[in-house]
């Protein structure tokens, strides 16, 4: 045992905080948050109730007092999506089942191409706030035989839109920080960065839409801004992995139809050149969260987030699209060569227990 392992062994089994302490800490935070005037002012045209900070706690309490099962749960208690959305989702589900999934033959790869834009922000040396939209694109190649090398290509990032004049340089620098080169990682079972095999645990998800939605409410309870919003978030996060088989995709669409507040928010939403129907939910966090589905094929085009309030710190206004992910899944014969377990030149921390990679030569941009 070397000195680090000895040090790590100490307190490995230190207990988790008491429920009391966790509750006290959370109350203190929620009180502090409540004492702070909301920075955003609700847009009068799109007035939404501001989250009170209590509902997540209330949801937590619900978990403590109700026994959820997949059969008996929250789904359907308080209605569901509006009628037009529910019907369009049902049609998309039917189309999804009719469209067969691509078959990955021996030696081939399932390629998941993800084009994503996220909103970032920071402060410059003069304490001025800035915000930007940054790219976060990647391609994941999953081999037919999962014990072969999976390959993950991560593209360099860039800021594609900067809010406010004079912050272009800061924004580019912030977006690129440590992600300024293309990186190729490869690992059997998708265990990139010396991590555990990649497993989306799709087999855990019930295929019956009602049970599926109960399952989603159960595993997300107590998190996020609202139970319905978190369920919607869980489903869109699952869909955007790009690896969801048609039958489960159909069930997820039907489950979305059971979430209150979901409506058709755009009949013809275009993302990355593909057009589909946007199903969205206005969340109390001040954002409209959408998934976009091609109605003809039932394929997921992607997801999108629209800000509903004007920011006060930065010039980002209601109606601004502040993030999206477009996902395309295909079958290909080859994956790029090169790369290592930990990307370009990074090495696993050799058996020191952190299970992470490090690249000692990676420059920092501060």
């Amino acid at each position: 045992m070397d000195e680090l392992q000895q040090l790590r062994s100490f307190g490995n089994d230190v207990a988790d905080p008491s429920i009391d302490a966790v509750g006290r800490g959370r109350r203190a935070l929620v009180e502090r948050i409540a004492a702070q005037p909301a920075i955003a002012r609700p847009n009068p045209r799109k007035r939404i109730a501001l989250f009170s900070g209590v509902s997540a706690l209330a949801a937590g309490a619900l978990v403590a007092t109700l026994v959820f099962t997949n059969v008996l749960g929250l789904a359907g208690w308080r209605g569901g999506a509006d009628a037009a959305a529910a019907s369009a989702l049902s049609e998309a589900a039917a189309a999804a089942i009719e469209t067969s999934d691509p078959v990955v033959g021996p030696g081939q790869y399932l390629k998941v191409d993800t084009e994503a834009v996220f909103s970032g922000g920071g402060q410059n040396a003069d304490w001025e706030n800035f915000a930007y939209l940054g790219t976060q694109n990647s391609q994941l190649y999953i081999p037919a035989d999962h014990s072969d090398d999976w390959v993950l290509v991560t593209e360099p990032r860039a800021a594609i839109k900067v809010f406010g004049e004079g912050f272009e340089e800061e924004a580019q620098e912030a977006a690129r920080a440590t992600f300024d080169k293309e990186e190729i990682s490869r690992a059997p079972y998708g265990g990139f960065d010396n991590s555990k095999p990649r497993d989306w645990r799709l087999d855990d998800l019930p295929r019956d839409p009602q049970r599926l939605l109960n399952y989603v409410y159960r595993v997300t309870a107590g998190h996020g801004v609202s139970a319905d919003g978190q369920a919607f978030d869980f489903i869109s996060t699952t869909l955007r992995t790009g690896v969801v088989p048609a039958e489960l995709r159909a069930a997820l669409y039907r489950a979305v139809a059971g979430i209150p507040g979901v409506e058709i928010t755009d009949e013809a939403a275009t993302l990355n050149g593909r057009t589909g129907i946007a199903f969205g939910r206005e969340e109390k966090d001040g954002f409209l969260h959408e998934i976009i589905i091609d109605p003809d094929t039932g394929l997921l085009i992607g997801e999108r987030t629209v800000q509903l309030v004007d920011s006060k710190l930065v010039p980002v206004f209601a109606g601004e699209v502040t993030g999206w992910t477009a996902v395309t899944t295909t079958v290909v014969d080859e994956a790029p060569a090169g790369g290592s377990l930990c990307g370009n030149g990074g090495e696993p921390l050799n058996g020191l227990g952190s299970g992470q990679c490090t690249d000692p030569n990676r420059p920092r941009t501060d």
């Binding site: 680090l4 100490f10 203190a28 929620v30 955003a40 920071g122």
Partner: protein, 193 residues
């Protein structure tokens, strides 16, 4: 799941969403603090870390997806401010070994228990900056880059601080260095900051 940086970014305008950071990371912050300063102090460090983080949420560098290095960095500053508690905890460990509740009653652990008493003394005497880097790495389970983010220092500096701290620990625990030959003086002298 929405990433930490997205949530923090959203909390600029909608402070309430920040509570999600607590739900995600409070336990990890607590465990780190408990290992450094004992469970009595850890409750307060956990709570205070998120109050400070909330006040500084628009200074979080949102190019990084995980907020954990940043949060553990805040916890580290709070532990340092509360140096008395950490020093008392380490002194108690030197005197009587780690608290019985945190070490399994297991033969293999006996050696470790003895060694940790020696180590606790060495950790106490480390310069604060080396101690922070070492314990974020070993107990905060961050990688080099995470430690660099937490302490807001370059990765190269993390590496040299860790090398120095590990050498001191090795000597204190009586572990013979495998290859490394100790060059120059080892800083076992107490440095008060």
């Amino acid at each position: 799941m929405t990433s930490d940086n997205e949530i923090i970014r959203r909390s600029w305008d909608n402070p309430a969403v920040f509570a999600e950071m607590y739900d995600r990371h409070a336990t990890t912050v607590y465990r780190y603090a408990a290992r450094r300063a004992g469970i009595d102090t850890a409750d307060d460090i956990m709570a205070e870390t998120f109050l400070v983080a909330f006040e500084r949420r628009n200074r979080f560098d949102s190019a990084f997806e995980s907020a954990l290095p940043w949060l553990l960095g805040i916890a580290t500053v709070l532990i340092r401010k509360n140096r008395g508690a950490e020093a008392r905890f380490l002194r108690a460990m030197v005197a009587s070994g780690p608290p019985a509740t945190v070490v399994e009653n297991h033969d293999d652990r006996l050696d470790a228990t003895l060694a940790i008493r020696d180590m606790a003394g060495a950790i106490r005497r480390l310069p604060a900056r080396d101690r922070d880097a070492l314990l974020l790495y070993a107990w905060g389970d961050l990688d080099y880059e995470g430690v660099a983010l937490a302490l807001n220092i370059p990765v190269g500096t993390v590496r040299s601080r860790l090398n120095r701290a590990r050498r001191v620990l090795r000597l204190s625990a009586g572990i013979t260095p495998a290859k490394e030959v100790d060059r120059g003086r080892t800083s076992t002298a107490p440095i008060i900051r």
